[in-house]
Symmetry: C2
Subunit: 532 residues, 2 copies
């Protein structure tokens, strides 16, 4: 095996999806998975099959459709490993990824129960046994087994080495060292990897992987330090999405390695021109915005404003850029479509933007495209992304459908909205006032449906190309500690807001319905331990 | 001098302000400067005085009012250094910060003209002389002089050492080593600092400073590596704002040092509980959003969603957090104000949020507060921040003022808006349709004012606390390569959008007016070289 090759393990759909409010439906996950395949990642971690039927289903559908190594997460328990196998087995190539907690603080916290042992060292023994057994069991299903030592960043080296050695002995072909808290510094983390390489006798039988979190802004630096000290797989996410301050950004790691080959000679197989599409798709579907000053994929990543910079730019393009926009897939020229572009023009551009649509889906999108073309002459990439986002959502079962909306507002007018919603075969119609247009609409919806959710957040994104921008609104509502996201698009922000709110309510309804159906099947929260 | 002390040099108002669309007016800069003083930064770089009268004015006003070391930027030319002195001289303590380009690529690019020398080595000599002279001249005004070697990251060590040594010999007390392209890796950058410490004979007479950019996501790691190798000043910005992927984030560096004292024993004098207020103020005034997964100050930085994390949280708070929300100033409890809170309740809370208001300003804000309290019962911190943002803007000269707005939209209604604007003593009134409510308003404004700017972006932020959210809209328009930002707030997003658009037009008008007035005074772009 080429020793300069770095494997990219993308966990956008598993660890990334754990971001608050980021839950994706199956269609969104499939689109993202297909884009990750275009990006040419080495492994797609598609979910945590045992944790819920929706997770199981996502891993299974992605295994059915996407030709990349698909991984499923599993605690170190037979039930988890078996569930992962069942979800993954239709994949051409798959990996079972099992994990155990190894730090004192996690062990005492999560394995407090005496059945794991009375003292810390007894519990540590139990964990080694559990890890060994889980890996061995996974090996009966596949040769490709990964083992993670959760919270390795705070695990002492001796014990960590024992656990890793046991996992490799049982057959793990990849061993993953996460910095779960995002607490570690690059030199410290690199040293840990180097020490493991030295101490673990059978380390050459496995690939060392790293998985870093960004709580101190060091996720990428820690990952690179891991590579420099012997790691050959990096677990990361698009846009660095993930819990708290997120995971290491795939795009930052990949481009850092690419632009500084002169310094550290490692390479990935990533098709970097697909980075931009992947980034846009993930931020669009999750609703997690990418700030303008985000490395590689932020709006300003390639923009120069001050006269000073511009002056430098004019004289010599090398002056301030270290990578080109084209190399990460930022479109050089705006492609503008219109009514005249036809189905073929539309479908070509959709493919270029990373979407996979079959005939039936294309017909629906084309209809939405024509409706939009009636309103705005020029249709840009961002409009298409929004149409696709909307399309993907429409496939999910919708309890409530917006039939009619009407709003009046003004300086001397109390904002007043009238809403009509179709629910199964009934029509629910109401009017309400509010302190603003959107508030009036939301009040009318709540009056019509007789509900009162807690509004957690409301974001509007607008297509910035051209005068008649499409508005994309993301609404998050909260119920019993769960957050539901709804997205609406329209050339009118009031209509987009209303559609978004209704979709959030639909998602909430679907979740609760599923929860009732699955009450016996879902593993209780107290039994699910921390993923890496 | 205590060798573990790290000095924090904040350049939010200079380098940060160079972010596209981030231009701040004088009142916003003053508010931010006061907050930076509360944060207890060591130096505030307030601007680049020679570059325009607005920049000069900002540095002067901040020097008048804020009791922290105030720095002004200057190229290595007498005219710049003198301008910096003139702007800074009223400060209790001030620093003149002068710079020269040192990399081959910058030298050949910007000092192409033969008057700087014919060959690269001749030009290099010229630059040493210019740097020496500029520092010496600055020393006639103050003892506190900083010298930066622009693009040091790509400058060979020998020449860099010569330039630095010359600057220190001429009297520079701080020497700054930037990574202008954001291209460097931590070990490489740290090595450069260590080598300078060894080679530059008089290095002990100055403090070494670092200034890193985030193009590969390594700004913080590079800054920390600099510290570990001898740097004792870090230049950084709030939220990491700055051109392209931005600067090193002040909050990430400060908290990394604070939480890992066990590993690297350095400290700053930053009052970390002021971080949150500073972050909110900067993102609000610049309109540059902070993504949810931003370290330290992102919305999700302290949020846990998956059952797994929550389970860990319940058993032992130490499990996943490495710093507490309170330590960075995230409010533990929501403070809710209302009509009954009175002027005193309002002014107390404003002070707690980091704002400084005099009696006259308080009266105006209190009036807006009461107007808002009529519409929404509960007023949260976010509402107050928005009122303050609006307040600060109102102080600037406004050519256009929104007098009246009226909008109708609906499923079977063509969105139609009527707008009336007051301009000087005239009233301009028009109606227009659009493909949505906001588009109709913008069309009506453009018809009334007979203009057609290019809309660059449109963002809506909503207060998420409580049902009746305030909407904050940020509109950016573009004219002749310049971007102008406008912000509007209202409980109605249509009204907020309209106010924002008008404010952007006001800012554009003010800029163009100033440009005409200053045509003779402003240094031409071709002469202003790259700031660090």
């Amino acid at each position: 095996m080429d020793n300069n090759r770095i494997f990219i393990f993308d966990t956008t759909l598993r660890d990334g999806e754990q971001s608050p409010g980021a839950s994706l439906n199956i269609y969104e996950k499939l689109e993202i998975a297909h884009q990750l395949a275009k990006l040419n990642v080495d492994v797609i971690e598609a979910g945590f099959p045992v944790s819920s039927p929706a997770q199981f289903d996502a891993v299974k559908r992605i295994s059915d459709e996407v030709d990349v190594v698909i991984a499923g997460l599993a605690r170190a328990k037979e039930i988890d490993v078996k569930a992962a196998y069942d979800a993954l087995k239709s994949a051409k190539r798959f990996r079972i990824h099992t994990f155990s907690s190894t730090s004192d603080i996690h062990i005492m916290g999560k394995f407090a129960d005496e059945r794991y042992g009375r003292s810390l060292s007894e519990k540590q023994e139990t964990i080694i046994k559990m890890s060994r057994d889980a890996v061995a069991y996974a090996k009966t299903f596949t040769d490709d087994v990964e083992f993670s030592a959760e919270d390795a960043g705070r695990t002492d080296l001796i014990y960590l080495s024992e656990v890793i050695e046991a996992a490799i002995e049982a057959g793990a072909t990849t061993v993953n060292i996460p910095d779960t808290t995002g607490y570690t510094f690059p030199s410290e983390f690199g040293l840990k990897i180097a020490e493991l390489k030295k101490r673990v006798k059978n380390i050459d039988k496995a690939i060392i992987s790293v998985h870093c979190h960004n709580d101190l802004g060091l996720a990428v630096a820690n990952s690179l330090s891991g590579i420099e000290n012997g790691a050959r797989q990096v677990e990361c996410t698009i846009n660095g999405v993930g819990e708290r301050a997120g995971n290491a950004s795939l795009e930052e790691i990949v481009m850092a390695l690419k632009v500084r080959k002169d310094l550290i000679n490692y390479y990935t197989n990533i098709k970097t021109e697909e980075i931009y599409n992947a980034s846009k798709m993930v931020s669009s579907f999750t609703g997690i915005v990418v700030q303008p000053n985000k490395a590689i994929v932020g709006e300003n990543a390639f923009a120069h404003e001050s006269g000073i910079h511009q002056d430098g730019m004019l004289k010599n393009r090398q002056t301030y850029e270290i990578m080109t926009p084209e190399s990460v897939g930022v479109p050089k020229t705006k492609i503008i479509l219109g009514r005249h572009s036809g189905r073929h023009g539309l479908s070509s551009r959709l493919i270029e933007l990373g979407y996979k649509v079959n005939e039936e889906e294309l017909q629906k999108v084309y209809q939405s495209f024509l409706d939009l073309a009636d309103k705005k002459k020029e249709i840009f990439d961002e409009d298409l992304r929004m149409l696709m986002g909307d399309q993907v959502h429409v496939k999910a079962d919708e309890l409530y459908e917006l039939e009619y909306i009407q709003v009046n507002m003004g300086t001397n007018t109390i904002p007043t909205a009238t809403i009509r919603i179709k629910s199964k075969d009934k029509f629910l119609q109401e009017s309400a006032t509010g302190d603003g247009s959107v508030d009036a609409c939301f009040n009318a919806i709540e009056r019509a449906l007789n509900i009162k959710p807690e509004l957690e957040s409301y974001h509007v994104r607008s297509v910035t190309s051209g005068r008649q921008a499409m508005g994309e609104v993301i609404v998050r509502i909260r119920k019993n500690g769960n957050t539901f996201t709804g997205r609406g698009i329209s050339t009118d922000v009031i209509e987009a807001s209303t559609k978004a709110y209704i979709q959030a309510l639909n998602n909430q309804h679907n979740f609760l319905k599923r929860q009732e159906e699955e009450a016996r099947e879902t593993i209780s929260l107290s039994e699910i331990s921390q993923a890496v």
